[in-house]
Structures are given as C-alpha cells and as structure tokens.
Amino acid sequence: MAIVFQKPKSLTDVPYHYCPGCTHGIVHRLVAEAIDALGIEGKTIGIAPVGCSVMAYDYFKCDMIEASHGRAPAVATGVKRALPDHVVFTYQGDGDLASIGLCETVSTACRGENVTIIFINNAIYGMTGGQMAPTSLIGQVTQTSPYGRDPKTQGMPIRICELLATLDAPAYLERVAVNSVAHVRQAKKAIHKAFQNQVEGKGFSLVEVISTCPTNWGLTPEKACQFVEEKMIPFYPLGCFKDKENGK
C-alpha cells in the first residue's frame, strides 16, 4: 500500500494552536506541500505575520522570521534582497495585509519583488477576538461593527486581487478558497504556482485564500465553510486576476 496522503515533510511536529476547524491549518499544509514538491525547504525563509498565524514560525521547518503587524512584505523584501536565490514567502491575514500593512503590500507588488505572498482573507481580526477587518462583508456583525458593517461610516470591503491587478509589476494574482475539497485542490495548485514562479524568477505572486474563522464568526466549522460559499465567494469571486506568463 502506498501513502496517498500524509502530513507534508516541511511541517514540524508542533501541534497547531488554531481553533477547531480553522482553515488556517489547511493553508499551512498547502504551503508545506508546495515547499515539499519543489524541494525548496532548505532554501526557503518564511515570514509570519501578527495575527492568528503569528506562530506559523513554529510550524514550518524552514527558517522563519516573525514580522511586525502588517510589515511582512517589507521584511520579505529585506530578506530577498539579501538572498536573491532563496525562496521567501509571507503568510498574512487580512488585517495584517489589507489594513495596517496595505502600503507595504501595494508597494511590494509595485516593485514586482520576487516573493510569494499567501493572503488569508477570513473577513475578521481573528487573533484579537473578532473585530471588523477591511474585508468584512457589508452588514457583517463583528466586535467593532456590532450593528453590522455600515458602508456609510465603515467603508466597503476591499478586494485585494482586483486592486493589485491594476499594477504593471505583479506576475501572478489568484483568489482561491479552502471551504471544500474541490476548492482545496484549486488552492493547492495556485499556491504551488506562486512558489514555482518565484523559483523561476517570475516575480511577485500573491494568492488570496478565502478562509474561515469559525470562532469569531460564531459558526460551526461546517457552517463556516458554507458561509464562505454563500457569502464570501459571491463578493470575492475566485479565479486568476493576473498571470503575466499567460498574458493575463
């Protein structure tokens, strides 16, 4: 009998601290699978954000750096300029990447920095207990939008892939989800490609992953996956927003 599926090699044995059913864990695994598949564990440096995934530095076997809130793309840039032949990725939440770190995100994309960004859009600040994120949906109840996000005073949710797609420099931008088996398979491909691009020197690649936060959404893990399907994906359509290689 052959192994069809097992924990990827580039993950450590430290158990995740994530809540039951939190899909951060799935995305970690997909990243590790890409690292394994490309055989780059030894020359990869990962950047953990401030957010629920802050402790990602304990979970990946490659060298890891913990960045300050929102600045992972700048940290990644610093690493990449020092180690241009290595593989550098960041793993960031929506508060981290699309709120406090928006300037770094867009500027790094603009520079076409040859790094890979895994962007976890769960429409909430998980780590701090469920405040509104820049990507929280219209009407979404959170700790800081207790009456539902009101676009009049709290603005509209931001679509990062669409925003970045207007820039000339990025090589690859794709939005995926991990709420179902089919979506996980697509996500796996996209994440793999985002790493492969870097190995091949193609430039800035970002994969936005629509993820769940059962705890702060107040939903069971299963319901949270449904919420992604029914509420998130309609607002955040999946697909490829830029693929320079293929003329997109």
């Binding site: 890891m64 700048a74 610093g78 300037c103 500027s107």
Partner: protein, 354 residues
C-alpha cells in the same frame, strides 16, 4: 592606509558602511541626511549591493529587520520625524536581538519642526526608542572622521552584543565636510553571515530551523529574555564606554557635550583657558552606554558640570545620575535649530567658574 579625502559627514557614513561590508541600504529621503541615500544609490548598483528607496521609514526599518535576520550588515538612515516612525521597528530589532545600523541625523522638533541641527532626540534614543524595556547602542560623532569610524564601530558593537546600534548625529555633522581617512575596505561581506549561527539563511536541510522572533506569550519566558538582554547592557557598559577628555587634568569646571556643541564648547574652553579659567571637557562618545564612571571620577575633582546641548536639557539628567548628583550640573543650551555661539558658552563657563 587610505588617504585623506574631503567628504560630507553623510557621505562619509555611506562610504564607510560600504567599506565595512554593508551591502544593503534601505531608506527614505529626509533632510538633512538625504545625501546618505543619494550616495548609496550611486555606489550600491556598482558593487552588487542593494540600494532601495523604501515606500516609507517604516518599510525601510522592516526591510532592515528582514535583511539583518539573514546575518547581513544592513542599515537605514533618517532624521528625527522619520526616526519616530521607526520606533516600533527598532523595538522589534531589539526584541529579536538583531544587530543593524540606524543613522539619525537630528533636526529640530517636535512635529515637522525645522531642518536645522538639533540634539533633541537624545532622550528618545537613549531611554528606549520605542515601547518596552530596551536600549540600542547610541554613538555620538563629533567629526566627519568619527562619522566614518563610528559606522564601523556601530556594526561591530551591534554584532558583538546582538543589538541595533545608532549613529546619533546632529544636522551639522551630516552636512559639513572635513578631511577624513576612510576605513580600509577589508571586510568581505560574504563572510559576515557565517559568524551568525542564528541567522535565517535557509536551513540547507543541515540544521533545525532558525527563528527570528520577539513574541513570548508566557510572561516568565519574556521576562527571561528581558533579563538576559539587560545583562548584555551591563556588559556593554562595563566594556564599551567611550569618551574623550579634553584639558581635564586640572579642570575645576567640566563641560559635557557631544557633536557640534562639543566643538563650539572647545572653542569656548580655549578662550576661557586664556582667561585663566580651569575648564575642561568630557565628550561622551557612547551615549548608550553612558560613560558614567568617567563622569563620576571627574565629579570627585571638579566644582561643577556644564552640559552644552541642542535641546532643553536631556543629557543633563544623565550627568546628574552618573555623578549621583554630587556636584551642580548646569546647562547652556539652544534649541529648534539654533546653536549656541562660543561666546554664549564662554559666558556660561565664566558663570560656572565663579
């Protein structure tokens, strides 16, 4: 030995950094230190180094953080308002025990303030430039030669003690030209990371992963890192204090000053000596660690101290603490970009000598 060349202080820093094996500069323009960036943008591309104009001071310090994590000699430079924006980044560098060079060519504040020379970030830089219990090494050059020499010293001390180091200059130091002998270009940048086993350079599958981090959710663990860091500060103070003494042998008044004001004060001291006033100077070269012992020793002999500063009285407090308030510590100061004249300092010395 290298020959003497004529350079601006800002340029001397840049060239010295390169000769010390620094190949990674990340910065954002701001007067009066933009010459550092301008110089780097010309040189770095020619030597396979990185000059990167970051999107902001915050991005710059975080690029330095990432680059320093790989064990490279990385640096950034700015002036007062831009340094405020680096506060969180400096705290992270300190928390992760990363050496890196930060240059602050100070201008008047607060707020947008002005662009003329100042020493008003003294407290901010020496007391902990950001949240949390931490310090960075702070060096105070007073000549263009020292701008170059201390660039090397900052890299070396930073690496020895695993902490960020700052060149804290005033605008004059950055803008003036003087003859300078640059450090020899003897450091091979490629050899530096190897001396840093903690660096995140890729495991190459040969070792467990390195983690550069400052998060410790368990307070006892965080406390341990704090104590360990302060033990390094204590060692730093014991071993690395630097200062210059000038005419202190028979001095009854001790001027304490750094940077441009130390030079103005020197003129005033020469004039005062002509008047028969027994005055000397201790010029701290390391501001953190502050040369407390030297001042305490002087306190035993002199009648009083006079700090000459471009701020409302900041180093003044350090002198008081260093000498355990044993003697009066007065002050001669100007702020907002103004610089006291030698005559003003002389007048203050005369008063002190009475």
């Amino acid at each position: 030995m290298s020959e003497k060349v004529l350079m601006k202080g800002n340029e001397a820093i840049a060239e010295a950094a390169i000769r010390c094996g620094c190949r990674h500069y990340f910065g954002y323009p701001i007067t009066p230190q933009t010459e550092i960036a301008a110089y780097m943008s010309k040189r770095m591309p020619k030597i396979d180094g990185t000059f990167l104009q970051a999107e902001s001071e915050i991005a710059a310090i975080n690029m330095v953080y990432g680059c320093a994590a790989t064990g490279r000699r990385a640096m950034t430079s700015s002036s007062s308002p831009g340094i405020s924006l680096k506060a969180e980044g400096m705290s992270y560098l300190a928390g992760a025990d990363l050496p890196a060079l930060i240059v602050n060519v100070q201008r008047g504040g607060p707020g947008l303030g002005g662009i003329q020379p100042s020493q008003s970030d003294y407290f901010f830089m020496t007391r902990g430039p950001g949240h949390g219990d931490f310090h960075i090494i702070v060096l105070a050059p007073a000549t263009v030669q020292e701008m170059a020499d201390m660039t090397r010293l900052a890299f070396e001390l930073g690496e020895k003690y695993r902490m960020p180091a700052m060149l804290l200059a005033d605008g004059t130091m950055g803008q003036m030209m003087e003859p300078v002998v640059l450090p020899e270009d003897t450091v091979d940048p490629a050899t530096i990371p190897a001396t840093k086993p903690w660096a995140t350079t890729g495991t190459e599958m040969k070792r467990a992963h390195n983690i550069v981090n400052s998060l410790y959710l368990k307070p006892d663990e965080l406390e341990k890192t704090n104590y360990e860091r302060f033990a390094r500060y204590a060692k730093l103070e014991a071993e690395e204090c630097r200062w210059e003494e000038y005419l202190m042998d028979d001095a009854e008044v001790c001027v304490v000053s750094v940077g441009i004001t130390a030079r103005v004060a020197k003129n005033a001291i020469v004039a005062a000596r002509k008047e028969g006033i027994k005055v000397g100077m201790i010029r701290p070269i390391t501001l953190f660690p502050f040369p407390k012992a030297a001042l305490a020793k002087a306190a035993a002999k002199v009648k009083g101290f006079l700090t000459v500063e471009l701020n409302m009285g900041q180093m003044n407090e350090d002198v008081k603490l260093a000498i355990n308030c044993a003697k009066p510590v007065n002050m001669c100061n100007r702020v907002g970009g103004m610089i006291p004249s030698a005559d003003e300092v002389l007048a203050a010395i005369r008063k002190e000598a009475k």
